[in-house]
Amino acid sequence: MGKKRQNRTGSPKFNDRMKKKLTVSSLVILLAFLGLSVRLYAINRDNGEVYKRQVLSQQSYDSIVLPAKRGEIVDRNGTKMAVSEKVYNICIDSKTLNSENGKYLDHAIQVLFAQGAIEYSYTQSDLRAYILDNPGSRYRVIAKKQSYDAVSDLMGAISGPEKDPELKGIWLEETYKRTYPYNSLAADVIGFVQGENEGAYGLEEFYNSTLVGTNGREYGYLNDDENLERTTKPAENGMTLITSLDVNVQSIVEKHIQAFNKEHENEFREGDGAKNIGVIIMNPDNGEVIAMASSPGFDLNDPRNTDGLELELPEEFQMAGIIKVEQGKEGASLNASDSAEIDIAVPAEKSVDINNQGSENKALTAESDSSNNGTDQGTTDQSTDPNGESYTAPVGAGQTEETGEAEDKPMTYEEAYEAAKMEALNARWKNFCINSTYEPGSTMKPFTMATGLESGKLTGNENYVCGGVKEVGGHKIHCSNRLGHGPLTFSQALENSCNVAFMDMGNAIGKDTFMKYNRLFNFGLKTNIDLTGEALTNSLVFDLNTMTPTDLAISSFGQGFNVTMIQMITGFCSLVNGGYYYQPHIVTKIVNDAGATVQSIEPRVLKQTVSKETSDKIVELCTNVVELGTGKSARPAGYKIGGKTGTAEKYPRKRGNYLVSFMGFAPSDDPQLVIYTCIDEPNVPSQASARYATVLTRDILTEVLPYMHIFKTEEMTEEEIAELKEKELDFAITSGVATPAEEAGLETVNGEGESAEGQVNGEEKPEGEKSEGAGEAASEDGVITFVDKEKKEKPGEYKKPEIKIDEATGYAIDPSTGALLDPETGVPVDGNISDLE
């Protein structure tokens, strides 16, 4: 075939002419190669240095932050109370999206908004407008903290085997989101996280540096050879806090607080069942806090929710006064002090009616941020405040005083609203148990007795006679029972909470010894509990040098000086545990990300306050209070407990505002827990009844003691059993004995525990419904029925419409008899009573 063609063309081979032209062509090609080589050389020679620098300068050395995971907060059983879960920010690069004539833009927006589960900060049209308006932007977060489930499809489209090659200019950034599986449970203790990773309030703030961890970084740098290298420094995750709290106990406590709030909601004034409620449960033998709850609370997952918040605005604004946020109710009829706790410094003499020395009280009122006397409106004799006389319309009163110290420059309505909102939120975020100071009232009495016994000034065999009033330092100071208790033994003085007897004891002890022991009990000092914001009371206690006999007299039954709840209960723990003053604490252990213990916080005895003998005596005396005296209603069926009631009239006196409390321990023969319940201004016509606190305490203990495997020692009456059955607390009937009833009961308690575990195991899943549901069910079951029954049994005490308040004393009037009711015991007292002074 080849031959044939060669023959035909006469060109059998590639001829010389062609070879010549091939050679020419090859030379041209070679020349071209050489020319290009020269060009390469020239580029290097002429621009090499410039280009080298150009290359380095356009490298990004930007480091990428690898966020650290914030440590968890768990209870003593490992139930997670605060967790951080990985979430994703969606970021866009406008420059890339605008490149190639915007060919990626439409597709990107289409893909982005096809993700139904993602919540964007922009609407579709806004986002498009942003991208077109900012063509140079390389980084913009368009959706914050989206869950993995929400972004998983988008993640697959951006990277992964099924990626969408046309999707450019979008990426995901990892970060963490703090969530609280139990929403509002122990909110004041746990605190929350604001900003990126900054703890606010509670454990989150106190242990912020422990929890926060160290962010990692991925960054580029030039090495010695001017080569860019990238290095990753991994994030160190934060430590986990293991607390002494018990979610189940905490739930029980909060359930009953809620029940109280619900029962007394809007009863006498608009609002919750009390201005504040605080409950602390501690283990007296190591200072561990098992539960700490205060009301009002808030949802940790939404701490800035302003629903139901009461704002107080200066009067120059149209909506001046207290406004309640986002609720249908008209909220202008509340006590000013109910809302935003705006501190108003009151002239000292106004607030002093029990002690006209004034100097200490000036400090007390002016410095205290407590709910006690800070918002005083001064309706004393000296008051010239025209609005002061009306209790039901205190708004004007608050306004008048506030206007007096209004700021120089006028605020806009928005500013005033924001300021009022922040103030109200701060008040809500505060932990009443540690942040607020108040006069303890009669719960001080065991301390006074312990002081006397320990110092030898009292023997315990004294006898007292109470005539209803005692004159000290020129002041007539009344007993709660104005007719007098008559002759009393040492124990009966406590059982009946007789002020006169305690004034005698105070006198016997003397102010030096009294103040020495007060200091020993840590009054005026911080307990240094591991929570942020513990109030300092050093200016709210008496100074030995200026203390008068009157001061000593009123101090002996808990008036005239301020304490915090945590001070009281910590001191009381030492009274009942043999005299050991443990530093109260919540965190028991700090473990790292891998679960290894970094620090164990052991019980720490700070001092010995009293001897074992004194302690035993106090336990015995307090047990008598519950068995025989004012604390009867605090006793849960089947248990022998001890404690002391308190009914402290707040400043200003004679306004009917009380802080009622009960401080107790259980069981009496070996105190294993100490509980302290404070109800600040119960929302009832007649606040002066410690019953509110004792009943709340009993309700809590009825469930908590069986849960904590503290066995019953006492016989239960038929009535008690019937009552427990009615409350569906069968487990509390036969605690300690494994019976079907108990199992049923444990189920009730564990019912919450189980939902707790459900939370823990399913932590990736959206939380909320379960625990909330549990909480609501808890607040509605049994307890309400129980309270209603109580009402029926004792209508005279609880039926609000009939109750009137005696103008002169602030004591309630029994509608059936017209008798004044003793605020301490709730029993009628006879005869006229005059002011203390």
Binding site: L22, V50, V55, L228
Partner: protein, 375 residues
């Protein structure tokens, strides 16, 4: 003929293998960053190219051992087949990549322009031999001019691929130039084409033709003043220049390029030579150019010694193809000419290209095998 020693060009084979291996190594170095980001697999491009290379080596081996004279009989079909494939791009089988419709989906993806290059070499080698001295006749001019004009126009218009059209035209131009006696006419044609190109450049420079009319004019603008369009149309060219300039004599070392880290767009395609310069410096670039020179030298030797004109013309076609493509690619990378989008043979990423290049190599080695050595 039997028993007579024939040439097997081991030098050429070595150069081919060297370039293939070197190409794969460089491809991995250049593409791994991008591949990792976009495909979560740093070897994504390497794996695909390796498969194509193995397919190409198989076809090359087959081609070496099938007598190339058979091609004379099928030459017309090679041309017609190429045209059909180009037309098929318009059918639903065609698909777009990066906005250009140049590919066919035939189970595996195929770029008809790459097929056309081989087709044109075979057909015009046959046609030139067939016409012989009649090449200057009217019939010859129509056949040659019409043939190359038709397929170039199809490549340009249907696949919107100027660079392949230029290469096809260049291959035929060089083959005809060598096959015919005189020089003047070719210099005239070359000068004319250069003049047209210059005219375009001048018109673009004076703003008569603007980037709005065609992206090709935009490329000319970018070529004339790359710094002015640094973040836009000359971004790729400029980044390639930075890469070349920052490489120095011995480069930053294999794998050490910074420019491949997202700065040179699609560095594994047209701009791979710039990364070679950056990583291996002038030294590495010179070795690559040297290997291509050795390859062309072998083509020269084989063509000169080919047993017949058909074989010689086949080799000349391949030689034209390789040299034009290498020269244009390096010229683009060094911003010596405007950006046209030409890949570097054996080294740039591209499946169809490597398969058909290796088939061409098979042809050349086949022609070489038929050379009888004088003993």
């Amino acid at each position: 003929m039997k028993g007579q020693k024939t040439l097997f060009d081991f030098t050429l084979l070595f150069v081919i293998i060297f370039l293939l291996c070197f190409g794969l190594v460089m491809l991995y170095s250049v593409s791994s960053y991008d591949a990792n980001i976009n495909y979560n697999d740093s070897a994504y491009f390497l794996k695909r190219q390796l498969v194509s290379t193995l397919v190409g080596v198989f076809f090359m081996t087959v081609t070496i051992f099938i007598d190339y004279h058979i091609l004379e009989r099928v030459a017309k079909w090679a041309y017609i087949g190429s045209c059909v494939l180009i037309l098929l791009v318009l059918s639903p089988l065609g698909y777009e990549v990066n906005g250009a419709r140049r590919w066919l989906n035939l189970g595996m993806s195929l770029q008809p322009a790459e097929v056309a290059k081989v087709g044109v070499i075979i057909y015009f080698a046959y046609l030139i031999c067939d016409l012989g001295r009649n090449i200057y006749s009217k019939r010859g001019l129509i056949k040659i001019g019409g043939g190359v004009g038709l397929i170039s126009a199809m490549i340009l218009i249907i696949t919107d691929n100027l660079s392949s059209a230029i290469i096809v035209f260049g291959i035929v131009f060089m083959m005809v130039f060598i096959a015919t006696p005189n020089y003047r006419i070719y210099f005239g044609v070359a000068a004319g084409l250069l003049a047209i190109a210059a005219l375009f450049v001048i018109l673009v420079k004076n703003g008569v033709l603007t980037s709005e009319m065609s992206y090709r004019f935009a490329r000319i603008e970018a070529w004339l003043d790359p710094e002015a369009y640094a973040s836009g149309k000359s971004f790729q060219t400029l980044q390639a220049l930075y890469a070349i300039g920052s490489g120095g004599v011995f480069g930053k070392g294999l794998g050490q390029s910074l420019q491949k880290l997202g700065y040179i767009p699609e560095a594994q395609n047209d701009m791979i030579f710039s990364v070679i310069c950056e990583e291996l410096g002038l030294f590495g670039a010179t070795i690559v150019i040297f290997m291509f020179i050795v390859m062309i030298w072998r083509f020269f030797v084989i063509a000169n010694n080919a047993e017949d004109e058909f074989g010689a013309m086949l080799v000349i076609g391949v030689m034209a193809h390789i040299s034009i493509q290498v020269i244009l690619n390096i010229a683009v990378v060094t911003n010596t000419i405007p950006n046209t989008g030409i890949t570097l043979p054996f080294i740039s990423y591209g499946g169809s290209a490597v398969v058909f290049l290796l088939i061409e190599m098979g042809l050349v080695l086949n022609v070489a095998r038929s050379i009888k050595l004088k003993t």
